[in-house]
């Protein structure tokens, strides 16, 4: 187990090192000069040069790469070119919107998907199943920005139950914050819930064909009881894998929803930073997301090994 863990750990560190190199290279290659963007069309060459020096852009690329990576190892993500505030603080601020939004959307998604998936599996081939699968097909197909706009038109513009967008901040109260995140969370949750419901249904149907389910029915449990006591637990494994994937997607993938609802989240930060060529912010945010995904994968690898002893010896 120790050897396996060590191997996974080395692979984790290597992945991160390669990722940092790729991220830096790709983002630095993109045409566009942050100093020119800041100073605009009337900037004089000496002013541009002064700003480049101030931002540290006149150093060579390898030096800047090493400075960036070295800083991150010490927990210093650098200073934003445009905002001139520490990137770590900016990311933390944005996480206070993006993380709750992700969790909120995930909770809605699970609350919708579990009952829908179980219901469809239990009514396999009947009208209820067909209706449920049709609905989820629609949920997957509808673009979420369009759905978001419809939500805004109905609930913000016409009914006036919600604001059309924006985030007042958690200091205005938890309820106010959650209220502001409700429409975006629903817009994000719908396609995820549709996917999850379909996975839930097929996982349950797979399990229903297993021997132990037949045994459960044979010892006198009803179809519903067998599903509830034995089927659900075993069907959860693929469902949890999907939920894990959805977390990282929701965390960074909410760019469009954050634009539609003008929320100050991580996605909008990336969007703004790319536009203004605030390279250090883009690099650090992307690196952070890569770090999260790779670390989660590492933990999942370890968890698999704990569950399945064969993995430990095979490697």
């Amino acid at each position: 187990m120790l050897r396996y863990t060590l191997k996974r750990l080395i692979s984790l560190v290597l992945s991160l090192a390669v990722a940092s190199l790729v991220i830096f290279a790709v983002i630095e290659i993109a045409p566009g000069d942050p100093a020119l963007f800041m100073l605009g069309v009337n900037a004089q060459p000496d002013t541009l040069a002064a700003l480049r020096t101030e931002l540290g852009l006149d150093a060579s690329k390898p030096d800047r790469y090493l400075a960036w990576v070295g800083g991150m190892l010490q927990g210093d993500f650098g200073t934003s070119y445009t905002y001139r505030t520490p990137v770590a603080g900016m990311i933390a601020d944005r996480l206070w919107v993006s993380l709750p939004l992700t969790i909120y959307a995930l909770v809605i998604s699970i609350l919708l998907a579990f009952p829908a998936g179980i219901y469809a599996a239990s009514r396999r081939g009947k009208m209820g199943d067909a209706a449920m699968m049709g609905t989820t097909q629609l949920g997957v197909a509808i673009p979420n920005f369009w759905f978001a706009m419809m939500l805004v038109l109905v609930f913000a513009v016409n009914l006036r139950w919600f604001n059309a967008g924006g985030f007042p901040g958690w200091d205005k109260g938890v309820w106010t914050g959650l209220h502001a995140l409700t429409l975006p969370a629903i817009a994000l949750a719908l396609p995820q819930a549709s996917i999850l419901a379909r996975v839930m249904r097929s996982a349950l149907l797979d399990v229903l064909g297993e021997d132990f389910m037949r045994t459960a029915r044979a010892k006198g449990l009803s179809r519903g009881q067998a599903l509830w006591r034995h089927g659900l637990r075993n069907a959860l494994i693929p469902v949890l894998t999907i939920i894990g994937l959805q977390v990282s997607f929701l965390l960074a993938g909410a760019i469009i929803i954050e634009q539609v609802f003008y929320l100050p989240g991580l996605g909008r930060l990336i969007f703004q930073s790319i536009n203004s060529r605030d390279l250090i912010v883009v690099e650090s945010v992307v690196m952070l997301l890569v770090f999260v995904v790779i670390t989660v994968n590492f933990l999942v690898d370890l968890a698999y090994a704990l569950v399945d002893p064969r993995l430990r010896t095979r490697t």
């Binding site: 002013t47 445009t82 505030t85 006036r160 924006g166 634009q259 539609v260 003008y262 930060l269 536009n275």
Partner: protein
């Protein structure tokens, strides 16, 4: 019979209700939406207009200032004297002005601000505004003298820009996140990505403004902008990004639509050094191939004024030269044939993100195709546009709105991206810079418009209209935009 009959009871009830209504609704705050968020809060070290929109005249003030009609009036300088040779300006500062941190504003701060802007390591995006200044001298705490190398007729205009506001040395280190000025509003809070809040400065030297506080919100998506106004989440949307929605707001009694002029000459910029555009006949052919009204109708939904040169129609020295480049495809084809391009040619058309460029570009490309010119559309982001078009001069045609006020001087810079190099025009601009008599200046400006129109330097399309939407009760908004600004001191609620 009681003392009060039912009618007077009703009347009294209505009066009380009316009184309650007016007190309950005497709104003293306002929420203003902008499309772009300021990158930081220092108007003296960035080109972003959003910084000025939030801070100009509200938080920071200069020696002189723009009014909504474009006139220049005294700001922190109460008055000034100009020496007979036009080289020395002696500014008398207002008494009793203090910065938001309590420190008094004095001639030392003026010297510090101007010297900082024109210093060698200055990060001022409009450093050229201060080019002619040779020395800034403090005569006494309320008198400051600005000495010029040569007379400069634009100095008072230049000092009114947001890039020339007076800052204090004590707070300069943190100006980007915590701006400290002399204005009627103090900076309160910035939630990055969401909003900036300003509150009234009770120690302000001038008249106390009506609003107690203002919140600026940043909504970049045009659809989200529409929803935010319709849901009444915002009271004002400055420079509303979707002109196609304006008729709907106009028809709705809850809103007012403000259509004003601004300083944005929208042009089909042409690379004058790149063949075949180095041939004036080709440039003239392009000018005659373009139907301006079709572009204004199609891209701007009718908002915009045709222009025939690089000059704002609301300026007193404006000359209407649109006839010089009237829509005439036959003439255009004849000119191309004369230039040896009877079969047309291929070029590129770089389009930055704003809808005037993307939508306008499609129409321009279609119009050019009618006379045989194939313009390949290349959509670019602003950062790319600056890098490859503006700096790299790697383009044939591009559409862009030049929003700086009075910027005809860019045609005197041969290294400017459209690379127009005409010594006659350059001499004219030098004469203009040293001319202080307003009538003479106007005559020179008219001549300048004429020269670039007749040289067909660029395709002159239209003067961009400033479009804003506000709730019906908002008064005192600037309709025109002589500079990027949302002057809170003039705004109030009508209820």
């Amino acid at each position: 019979m009681g003392i009060f009959d039912s009618r007077s009871v009703k009347l009294a009830g209505a009066l009380v209700a009316g009184l309650w209504w007016s007190t309950a609704h005497a709104q003293s705050d306002i929420t203003i939406a902008l499309q772009l968020e300021p990158p930081h809060l220092d108007p003296t070290s960035a080109a972003a207009q959003a910084i000025d929109s939030v801070l100009y005249t509200n938080v920071f003030e200069g020696l002189t200032r723009f009014m909504g009609d474009g006139s220049i009036v005294p700001g922190l300088a109460e008055s000034w004297e100009i020496s007979d040779d036009g080289k020395t300006y002696t500014f008398k500062l207002r008494e009793g002005v203090s910065f938001h941190d309590g420190a008094p504003m004095s001639a030392e701060d003026v010297k510090f601000s101007l010297d900082r802007a024109r210093a060698e390591d200055s990060a001022n995006a409009q450093k050229a505004l201060f080019d002619g200044i040779a020395e800034v001298t403090v005569l006494d705490p309320l008198t400051v003298q600005v000495t010029l190398a040569n007379p400069n007729g634009s100095l008072l205009f230049n000092l009114a820009w947001g890039d020339a506001v007076i800052v204090s040395e004590a707070s300069i280190a943190d100006i980007k996140t915590n701006p400290v000025g002399t204005g009627a509003y103090k900076f309160a809070e910035w939630v990055q990505g969401d909003r900036i809040e300003l509150t009234r400065n009770d120690a302000y030297w001038g008249d106390a403004p009506a609003l107690e506080s203002a919140t600026f919100k940043f909504i970049s998506d045009p659809t989200a902008a529409f929803a935010a106004v319709m849901a009444e989440d915002v009271d004002v949307f400055d420079n509303f990004p979707a002109p196609e929605n304006l008729p709907q707001f106009e028809a709705d009694p809850r809103f007012q639509v403000l259509v004003g002029s601004n300083e944005g000459e929208t042009i089909l910029s042409t690379n004058n050094k790149q063949p075949p555009f180095d041939d004036i006949r080709v440039r003239q052919a392009i000018a005659h191939a373009i139907d301006r009204q079709a572009i204004i109708d199609g891209a701007m939904f009718g908002y915009g004024t045709p222009i025939g040169s690089h000059f704002a129609p609301h300026h007193p020295a404006y000359v209407d030269l649109t006839g010089n480049s009237a829509f005439d495809p036959e003439k255009s084809k004849a000119l191309l044939a004369e230039a040896g391009m009877a079969d047309g040619f291929e070029t590129t058309l770089h389009l930055p993100p704003p809808s005037y460029a993307r939508r306008g570009g499609e129409i321009v490309a279609a119009q050019l195709a009618e006379v045989g010119i194939t313009a390949e559309i290349i959509n670019v982001e602003w950062a790319q546009w600056l890098e490859s078009v503006f700096k790299g001069k790697n383009f044939g045609l591009t559409i862009v709105s030049h929003t700086e006020p009075m910027d005809i001087g860019i045609y005197a810079r041969p290294d400017y991206y459209f690379q127009y190099d005409n010594p006659e025009f350059q001499t004219l601009m030098e004469t203009l810079n040293t001319t202080t008599d307003p009538a003479e200046r106007d005559a020179l400006l008219k001549q300048a418009q004429q020269i670039i129109a007749e040289d067909y330097v660029n395709g002159f399309l239209f003067q961009w209209a400033k479009l804003s939407v506000a709730k019906a009760g908002v008064q005192g908004l600037w309709a025109d935009a002589p500079t990027a600004a949302i002057d809170l001191t003039s705004i109030s609620w009508s209820e």
